[in-house]
Amino acid sequence: MTTSMQGQVALVTGASRGIGKAIALQLAEQGVTVIGTATTEKGADAISGYLSGKGEGIALNVTQEDSINAALKHIDETYGQLDILVNNAGVTKDNLLMRMKDEEWDTVMDTNLKSVYRLSKGVMRGMMKRRSGRIINISSVVGTTGNPGQANYCAAKAGLVGFTKALAKEIAARGITVNCVSPGFIDTDMTKSLTEDQKQAIFANIPASRLGQPEEIAAAVVFLASPGAAYITGETIHVNGGMAMV
């Protein structure tokens, strides 16, 4: 068994900042060619910039089937293979359920859950043919614990875990693993939008007494993508400073 990831190709969605950026950078450090996606051309350019030759940024709207098909076609034509898919792109539209709008529910479901269905389906043929592949879905601790004001986000993130297990069983015999990494509260733009009261309440429940760093999520993703993790599938690795032990 080879232990190198040199020469592999990875697609990381939502890679312009935060956890996605850390994942893209760490995969690139392993010699993986990384295609990182952003919602805008400007974001895509920023990704190309930080990858500095070890891949590229592309604009992708994960809620649009055409956009996904175009991105996968581009990858196929340019790189000829895709070994690793990291479904990281996600949004929050927080609201108490009693005030939640259909639009808030649908946006979170489309971006965080349906996109994973579409992208995973899109990469399946290539991975099945090569009898190898890694799909890593970024879930969230709140998909396990729940969080008030995030019924939509929690539902989508818990949905990813079920999706992951089902797909893992379908394709394990083809050498493809499907896993989740479930971050706790990580120091990103997404958690910066939490109120001070929310943060204090959260900190009281984190044994590590700090926010996690995006690099600490990326490390788990790189492990799952590595040859050494070939026998792990359908699993969720929780990276949350002890906040939830499940």
């Binding site: 043929r125 099945m128 043919k129 379908e170 394709i171 015999a173 083809r174």
Partner: protein, 79 residues
Amino acid sequence: MSTIEERVKKIIIEQLGVKEEEVKPEASFENDLGADSLDTVELVMALEEEFETEIPDEEAEKIKTVQSAIDYVTNHAND
């Protein structure tokens, strides 16, 4: 140049790892040739590539036997 029937049979033999004599026209992939549902999906993928055609899902679901695969390709192949 092999006939369509020969090419289809060759793909079935390769994809399902079965012997040539098992690939009878009436043989069912799942009941007789030991394929599971994912094997059948892969078999259809292989047929699509060999014959450079796209088989819609609703048609693919009807391809359950050796003969049905040969018939589909005979009726739809580009060449």
